[in-house]
Symmetry: C2
Subunit: 288 residues, 2 copies
Amino acid sequence: MLDDKEWFTEVVDAAGSAFSLRVRRKLHEERSPYQTIAVYETEHFGNLMVIDGFTMLSSRENFLYHEMLAHPVLFTHPAPERVCIIGGGDCGTLREVLKHPEVTAATQIDIDERVTRIAETWFPELTASNQDPRANLLFDDGIRWIREAEAGSLDVIIIDSTDPVGPAEGLFTEEFYRHCLRALADGGLLVQQSESPLYHMDIIGGMRADLQAAGFADLRTLFFPQTIYPSGWWSATMARKDARIDGFRRADVDARRFDTTYYNADIHTASMAQPEFFRRRFQGDTTG
Amino acid sequence: MLDDKEWFTEVVDAAGSAFSLRVRRKLHEERSPYQTIAVYETEHFGNLMVIDGFTMLSSRENFLYHEMLAHPVLFTHPAPERVCIIGGGDCGTLREVLKHPEVTAATQIDIDERVTRIAETWFPELTASNQDPRANLLFDDGIRWIREAEAGSLDVIIIDSTDPVGPAEGLFTEEFYRHCLRALADGGLLVQQSESPLYHMDIIGGMRADLQAAGFADLRTLFFPQTIYPSGWWSATMARKDARIDGFRRADVDARRFDTTYYNADIHTASMAQPEFFRRRFQGDTTG
């Protein structure tokens, strides 16, 4: 029996599983206009951010998710200059994006400013690049922002959202993807976190179908470990506007002048390997 | 708070984490001469085997571990005829090994016959190949069996053990690896489960050092997801007796006449990609 005073537990009802971290104390909790945000000091995972009861990130292993959301898509684009991040209020993805010297403008649009303010206090390592002159932090509705974005004005769209229930639901729809497609310039790429390959094949399948229906020309789903997310195994799905996703700037990865903890060129290639059950399910899918 | 009547929970003290599965009922529990073995019926993971409080396998996702312990090493060896499995009493690894037509003899040596008998009852899909005439099930001390094995009598040794505490401790030692080396024929390969890349880099590092000290010529650590094991991310370490591990029989993987759920040729390659933190730690390690 895990005592709620000593442990934070996230239950995944539909999977009948739960993951828990031992906590020393609750550092912060507040109800923002959008959600309840809590921060715990854990025993061995550093600080833990929880939104509406769902684990968002821990100091110890957020590098996996943030690196895999930023670097594969940016090293796939030949010249990723104009990047936007929908969601991502903790600024961990923004930090990775800003490591790329090709990026000239990185706009983050999260609906909830409180997530960013809390990250500044409790996860300062993630917000350390926020003063970069290329960074533009907006606190607004990302769906509306994309709808109003100038056509062809973005090279890369990163959708770093919570699960497709509640506020983030509208980020997993064909209509939203159509607006993303329009906002992307030629050769543009989108990537979105796409849940667990073990628990959520229906979500991954639905997202892939919606991206194709919206007109994206090619897709790749990337796989990576993520201890604190349901099943410990996670994915992101990348889509290119108008051409096949064919390789990445491998020489630039090898010559990069910034540190990573998980990502490198071999991991990039490896993340695109499709498990056999996944390959079988999508084998008629000519867009990869 | 997770009620112990409704949930089975494994706590990892050193990591301050826990993983739980919702259970309908305990199907079986007994104290064998070596350990306490329990089987639960879970809500969404099928049946769950627990030994001394540690999750061993679930019906739902054991395919990941068993496929990754068997297929990469067997497709790396040019002609894997004589295979032994140390541990592996649930017979899931044996089942995968017997899918390979090249295998002429597969000997499984688990110290605890009760694990196999319980698997026959509660995990019959894993023991379905046990009547294969190539299979030989021994219930004995694997360390002694390897020590007494004829020199050069094995092509592949698979060490499918519990964690390196208690009964399995002697399977993670330089002395044991020396006996394995001697028992292997020219070109022989060993593979052993090597715990979590996030939690147990000390164990992986120690095992790699011991394998090298024992005289193995080359090493590769493989990475794969495993939801019910600590951190949800797991590894196995492969070692070749006398030559570099250089590629695998990719054409044979593609032409295989048996089903897999996770493994395929791309996954094989992907599993050997080293995360950046791992590469940095072992980069002076010329044996890969």
